[in-house]
């Protein structure tokens, strides 16, 4: 039991999440249970609208569920105030958003620096660290341009660089490779996977992209607001909806 507790990075149990008014209610999560282990890269797959993004938001502490508990690296999120949740995200989380949310009026490198600056790191240090991660995602030389001058795939790589730059314990990615070609996608996933290979780390990836399933340690299938199955081998997946 105690060994198992130590091996768990994220645990959500009995999570309910509804949207809208009582008479016009959308059920996004219904008694959802989810676990991610330390040092693993787990993928979340399922049909559109099944609640994947909602579950990510709950794990990230940007949405507070109506029922259930969420625990990330031993920290219970329920009961934390807004500022505590914010501080929790600042320390522990890296994000790749479904729409990249790069700030168009800032340069590529400034976008990447944001998480470090939010943590209060000095500008020069933030710049140096951002430069090296930009290099790793293959965008060297583009750091001073604007994101809008880049292709969709390149923008996604900037978003990934931004998510990785502060080496967050928990990396949360919503469709990180949707705009990337096969090789770039593989390259990026390799980066992300390398990051997960440590007991202090964990990566949760929502994806429809079967080309990257091979990077997953485990794959959780979602259906109608809950995890229906967790498999170790992509071949075991029900791929009819993908």
């Amino acid at each position: 039991m105690s060994h198992e507790a130590h091996s768990i990075a994220v645990r959500a149990s009995g999570v309910d999440m509804f949207f809208g008014t009582p008479d016009n209610q959308v059920v996004a999560l219904k008694q959802a249970d989810f676990e991610a282990r330390r040092g693993e890269l787990i993928m979340l797959v399922g049909p559109s609208g099944c609640g994947k993004t909602t579950l990510l938001s709950v794990i990230a502490g940007t949405l507070t569920p109506q029922a259930g508990t969420v625990e990330v690296f031993g920290q219970r999120l329920d009961g934390l105030g807004q500022e505590e949740l914010t501080a929790f995200r600042r320390k522990n989380l890296g994000f790749v958003f479904q729409s990249f949310n790069l700030i168009p009026t800032l340069s590529v490198i400034e976008n990447v620096m944001v998480p470090l600056l939010i943590q209060g790191r000095p500008y020069d240090e933030a710049r140096a660290r951002s430069l090296s991660i930009i290099d790793k995602v293959g965008l060297k030389g583009r750091e001073d341009g604007r994101p809008n001058a880049l292709s969709g795939g390149q923008q996604q790589r900037v978003a990934i660089a931004r998510a990785l730059v502060h080496e967050p314990p928990l990396l949360i990615c919503d469709e990180p490779t949707s705009a990337l070609d096969k090789d770039t996608g593989a390259h990026i996933m390799q980066l992300v996977r390398d990051l997960s290979r440590s007991p202090e780390r964990c990566v949760v990836v929502v994806t429809h992209d079967h080309r990257i399933f091979r990077f997953a340690d485990r794959i959780a299938e979602m259906e109608d607001g809950r995890i229906s199955r967790v498999v170790d081998d992509p071949k075991l997946l029900d791929t009819t909806h993908l």
């Binding site: 990510l56 940007t62 914010t86 479904q98 949310n101 168009p104």
Partner: protein, 396 residues
């Protein structure tokens, strides 16, 4: 983060330009209108500036310097006998019609000064000598007045001409000849046209009908007696009203005639109201344009602020980012607006019309108001960002 906040602001040139336009325009409007206001108000007590004397004595009913209620000539003796008076000289001021050589009439401000002491005489003569003023039928005209009157004058050749009057030219006041022996430089006034200086006794002649001609008495205190002190004694001993002559607006005493004149115009004319309206307008335009532009700047960046929030920036950091952005825009906008106001003011001062007095205090007040506008804009933005849901960044 603040550096990034600034880069976000400067990254959108079009928005920034509009924001700065709004702020600069309202700064310009507020600074310029206030300066013209104080310029005009400073014209109301022009005689206090032009006619230098430490203490002015008037009829008890007098409220301001442009509204003289003539005294008896014998009052002069009563004032002279007050303890602490070094000397007291008569002063006449009135508005009279002057007839130019071409037959046109012109309203002038006639100033009669004491021929013995020359108390109240203009300080700067650009032509002629003050002593010639003692010759019969002579006057001294101020520079601007000379050009006003000259415009309608006739030259020695009999042809109309538009050059200013000069020493040697003549006109008539109540059919009595006035020969110019000097041109002086004085401050322009709110009321009255050209200043025409003559001696107190000749002024009596020029204003034939007037029963009393003693408008004010100019008094010099003895050494060791302050003007305010002397005012008290004169009022106690004579029942007349005595005033000090300080004209420094931020620093004038209770008894200052300039101060009382200023407040008389403040309460009895629509000048403060109309200028106050213009200043308020500047403020509202500033709040409207800048607030609106800043708000749309925030709206446009809302999802990025939400992303920053999701990544773990607290509202405190975001609020400070917005303040940095708003105050930076405010600072630049103020600089532009105040600079323009200065430039316009400089051009105005050269022309003298309308009067323009830009106190440092006006700039400070404008600065404060522009920062106030920025503050309001930032607060609106902060409220907007604080309401946005960090989870929204996950949605496409």
């Amino acid at each position: 983060m603040y550096r990034l906040a600034l880069n976000m602001l400067f990254g959108d040139r079009a928005k920034l330009a509009m924001l700065l336009c709004g702020l600069a325009f309202s700064a310009l409007l507020m600074a310029q209108q206030s300066s013209v206001f104080f310029g005009i108000m400073s014209w109301t007590y022009t005689p206090m500036v032009n006619i230098r004397a430490q203490v002015w004595v008037s009829d008890p009913m007098v409220e301001q310097v442009n509204d003289a209620k003539p005294l008896r000539d014998t009052d002069l003796g009563r004032v002279r006998s007050v303890d602490g008076v070094a000397w007291a000289a008569p002063l006449h001021t009135s508005f009279v019609q002057a007839r130019m050589q071409d037959g046109n009439f012109k309203l002038i401000t006639l100033v009669g000064i004491d021929a013995d002491t020359f108390a109240g005489a203009p300080a700067v003569l650009t032509q002629g000598r003050i002593e010639d003023h003692r010759l019969p039928d002579t006057v001294i005209v101020d520079e601007w007045g000379a050009s006003l009157m000259g415009r309608m004058g006739v030259g020695p050749d009999g042809k109309p001409r538009s050059t200013p009057l000069k020493v040697g030219d003549t006109f008539e006041i109540n059919d009595i000849q006035a020969r110019i022996v000097g041109i002086c430089k004085v401050k322009r006034a709110f009321t009255g046209g050209p200043f025409v200086y003559t001696t107190y006794d000749r002024a009596k002649g020029y204003t034939l009908g007037a029963r009393r001609t003693l408008s004010f008495m100019l008094v010099e205190p003895q050494k060791g007696v302050t003007p305010a002190e002397l005012c008290g004694r004169i009022e106690r001993d004579t029942g007349l009203k005595a005033w000090t002559s300080d004209t420094v607006i931020w620093n004038w005493g209770e008894r200052s005639l300039a101060r009382n004149t200023f407040w008389w115009f403040w309460t009895n004319t629509g000048i403060p109201f109309s200028f106050g309206t213009a200043v308020l307008l500047g403020l509202f335009v500033g709040i409207a344009i800048s607030g609106q532009t800043f708000y749309s700047f925030v709206l446009e960046n809302l999802k990025y602020f939400a992303a920053i929030k999701a990544m773990g920036a607290g509202m405190g950091v975001i609020a400070r980012m917005l303040f940095v952005q708003a105050f930076t825009a405010g600072l630049i906008g103020f600089g532009l607006g105040a600079g323009m106001a200065q430039a316009i003011g400089r051009a105005m001062i050269e022309k003298g019309m309308p009067p323009f007095v830009m106190f440092p205090q006006i700039l400070w007040a404008t600065f404060a108001l522009v920062l106030g506008i920025s503050f309001v804009s930032a607060i609106i933005g902060i409220i907007k960002v604080s309401r946005v849901d960090a989870a929204s960044v996950f949605r496409g």
